[in-house]
């Protein structure tokens, strides 16, 4: 859409008294390669192309998502809801600022197919108990343009690539699964990673899990491995620090800025600027630059993740955290790359300090109710710790806790910071996020399991 047409549309959107107007235009191309049962089963192509119109009056938001209509017509459906004094007219947009992505094109299809063929072959040779290998590769080119009533006029060309490996193991009636994935906000470098050690771990964990028994279900100390172990922070406090919850007093962390909410070992940062990480963008989905934001420093809550509309209630500095899956969704504050700052504790000291507990090596996702702080996350691979030694593998289980309780039970933090890629679902859809942490020890959390040891 031409600049003058955008200006006409914004003026129309403000014509009945809106105090905020924004146009979000998206053009996304996605390719998904599915490799299963020794074959490249399919390549799915997808094109998303549409527009989101948002107006606001105070904290009331009116939003339209459209891909098949004249945007002026749908804007009229929105502005019919307002009838007050015109605040903005003769809106003129700045010159467009373009933020280039690292890649403008997809990888060569043949290269991807060859990589998948070779990887499938390599994995299947690693153990005869491997029953199935499933590989999935997604590459995305996403152009977004944002214009608003202040004259902001920005465009970002984003790109993403993610590879997912899932392996099923079988020994007579025993079955287990193990997986590994990595994702980046670049495409061309996705296959440069050496994953040999990750594959060895994947196979070891899969075989160990074949013969794993249930864990005992009770509260116990837990060591969470680096990288995706940070799901505990993503769920326990990340969502509760989003302005969508905090501004409306719908978070267990509302009105807690400046208060001690976690142990001294906890410093949490959300940084949307780290090059090539899966959750990185140059601007957020309202067009403002992403930033490095300290959220918890030495256990004290110092900031929330903000977006423009919710910040009308909070009156804090914008953090560049407004995100949405696509033009279907109005944006809200979300995490980008959230991690726990490394500490100095050694992993061997952590293990030695536990008489009876759990060493969680691989984690699944989780969920939280930000208002009560009750959260859960899944452990995919875990080993018992007895008398300071790592022992047998036990079946995966859910771990559950409450934000204000668990954050104070982060007892030890090591220095081996790693990152993991995931998809986070919330009010504005699914967005790519990175979570990161070094290995940590939680002094006590409820672990799902059976009655007897």
């Amino acid at each position: 859409m031409k600049k003058e047409n955008l200006e006409t549309l914004l003026n129309k959107m403000c014509s009945t008294g809106a105090d905020f107007a924004e146009i979000y235009i998206e053009n996304t191309k996605t390719k998904i390669f599915t490799y299963l049962d020794n074959k490249l089963q399919k390549i799915d192509n997808k094109i998303d192309k549409g527009m989101g119109l948002r107006i606001a009056k105070g904290n009331e938001v009116y939003y339209a998502a459209v891909n098949n209509n004249d945007p002026i017509t749908i804007a009229e459906d929105l502005i019919n809801n307002l009838n007050s004094k015109v605040l903005y007219k003769d809106i003129k947009l700045s010159d467009m600022k373009i933020y280039e992505g690292s890649d403008n094109e997809f990888l060569d299809d043949k290269l991807i197919k060859d990589y998948m063929n070779n990887l499938n072959h390599k994995i299947r040779l690693m153990d005869k108990r491997i029953e199935q290998v499933s590989l999935n590769f997604t590459e995305i080119l996403k152009d977004i343009t944002i214009a608003n009533h202040t004259g902001l006029y920005n465009k970002e060309k984003r790109c993403y690539a993610r590879f997912y490996i899932s392996v099923t193991f079988k020994d007579s009636d025993l079955v287990s699964t193990s997986s590994y994935n990595w994702g980046m906000s670049t495409i061309k470098d996705i296959f440069n990673r050496n994953i040999d050690n990750n594959l060895k771990d994947l196979v070891k964990y899969g075989i160990d899990k074949l013969y794993a028994k249930n864990c005992v279900g009770k509260k116990m100390p837990v060591i969470l491995g680096p990288g995706f172990g940070a799901v505990i922070f993503h769920e326990a406090c990340g969502h509760a620090m989003e302005a969508n919850a905090t501004a409306r007093k719908r978070s267990v962390l509302s009105d807690m800025i400046g208060k001690k909410i976690a142990s001294n070992k906890v410093t949490i940062i959300d940084d949307g600027t780290i090059p090539n990480l899966w959750g990185t963008t140059k601007i957020d989905d309202e067009g403002y630059n992403t930033k490095k934001n300290y959220l918890i420093k030495d256990g004290i809550l110092v900031n929330y993740l903000n977006d423009t509309i919710n910040n009308r209630l909070l009156k804090m500095n914008l953090t560049g955290s407004s995100r949405r899956e696509s033009y279907y969704y109005p944006p809200v504050s979300r995490m980008n790359n959230t991690y726990l700052e490394p500490g100095n504790d050694s992993i061997s000291d952590m293990v030695k300090s536990i008489k009876y507990g759990l060493y969680a090596k691989e984690m699944n996702g989780g969920s939280v109710n930000p208002e009560t702080g009750d959260f859960n996350f899944g452990v995919a691979t875990a080993y018992m710790i007895r008398d300071g030694k790592v022992c047998e593998c036990v079946k995966g289980a859910s771990l559950i806790g409450n934000t204000l309780d668990i954050l104070n039970k982060i007892e030890m933090v090591s220095s081996d910071l790693e990152y993991g890629a995931g998809m986070c679902g919330a009010a504005s859809g699914m967005v790519p996020v990175t979570i990161g942490e070094p290995t940590i020890k939680v002094s006590e959390i409820l672990v799902g399991g059976i009655k007897n040891d």
């Binding site: 490249l40 390549i43 192509n45 997808k46 998502a65 009750d374 559950i400 059976i450």
Partner: protein, 422 residues
Amino acid sequence: MIDKLIDLAKENNIDLEVCSKKEYSAQIAVLNSNLENFYISNTTRHNIKAIKDSKCIFFVTEDLSDPDYIINELNKTFLLSDNDNLNRLSNNSYENRNKVFNKPDFKKVKEDLLSLYALKKDYSFIKNIEASYSYNSMNIDIKNKNNYMTDNTYSNYIYVSISGEKNNIVKSDYISIYTNNYDFNIVKEKVIKLLKYLESKFTETSISTNKYNVLLNNNVVKDILNTFISSFSTRNIDMKLSFLTGKLNQKVFSDKISIIEEPVNTKFVTTRYFDDEGTLTYNKEYVSKGVFVKTYNNLEYALKNKEELTGNSYGVRNFHIKEGNKTYDELIKTMQNGIIINRIEGMHSGINTRSGDISLQATGLLVENGVVTKPLNMIILQSNIIEILNNVIEVGNDLEEFNSIIASPSLLLHDITICGSL
């Protein structure tokens, strides 16, 4: 535009079919006494199925303005595809344009939702009431060179989440209703029931880990079934991705469990008369008295395995466990001592669909001598789908039509592990 694309494909020796879904939705959300947002969407998405030289590929797009680009991408993909796919285009025709839907008056709905906050007068512990209503309609058109099919669906969805606060302790829960008929009296009735339950949650406690008699309420069973739904597909069974792989025609569950799908039963919200490949749908049984008797398929897997077409390219519609005879209250009396699980969380991370293992955060109620005595929180349902559908004492008669795709009656079970912190 679709005809032009089909013609251009033909020139490239590609047989092409387009399934277009035109959706209109509108949503109002309120928080306490304020309007939070009003949302409308008007979008069309085209699912393109292309067949050439015994290969079949798919392309999903919201933009048909550049047919040359689409054909070019299809040709590139055909060159690379390994998978010989015996697929074909739809050879059915179907037109159903007779459904008449009455959109509710949005102003009235808004006032209805805002009126819920007045309940704070009677329930002073209320902290926040978030309520939303959404209307969704979809037209589905399938077109290829020879055939045309069209149908439409319509639904209302109401969601109310309430939090309460006493002595700095916050508790919350929600209701959700899918229906063809917006009726605020039903919403309000359910909200008041929810408030009564919420008030009791302030005394929540945990329990000790043990095996208990357990009553899973209808929503909990629905959520579990929903996570395992692809395990019933021919694809996932063939590809060894399902806990049901290798179990067809075997007794897998209790005699009391029969599982059926009723896509054309108008009692439910989302009837579909054909799937996204134009295969006509019909009612069918997947599990008969505990025996796993049928898988669901799309055209590719039906033709590959020479199975009867089931019309499930989109998944399932109105899939549920068959009702038993006892009411929910009778199930509680029958249980005498045990635990009701009424909410589970974390299905995407606490369920393994290959092994069937389940480990989920839960809330519930303790039942002693046939009476509910305590609310429970910070507990974990630790089981396996086969154990759950085998350890059945009774199946309830409380299947609700207020559900979208999957539904279930409540299940009374024996010897299920519930893990707690005491």
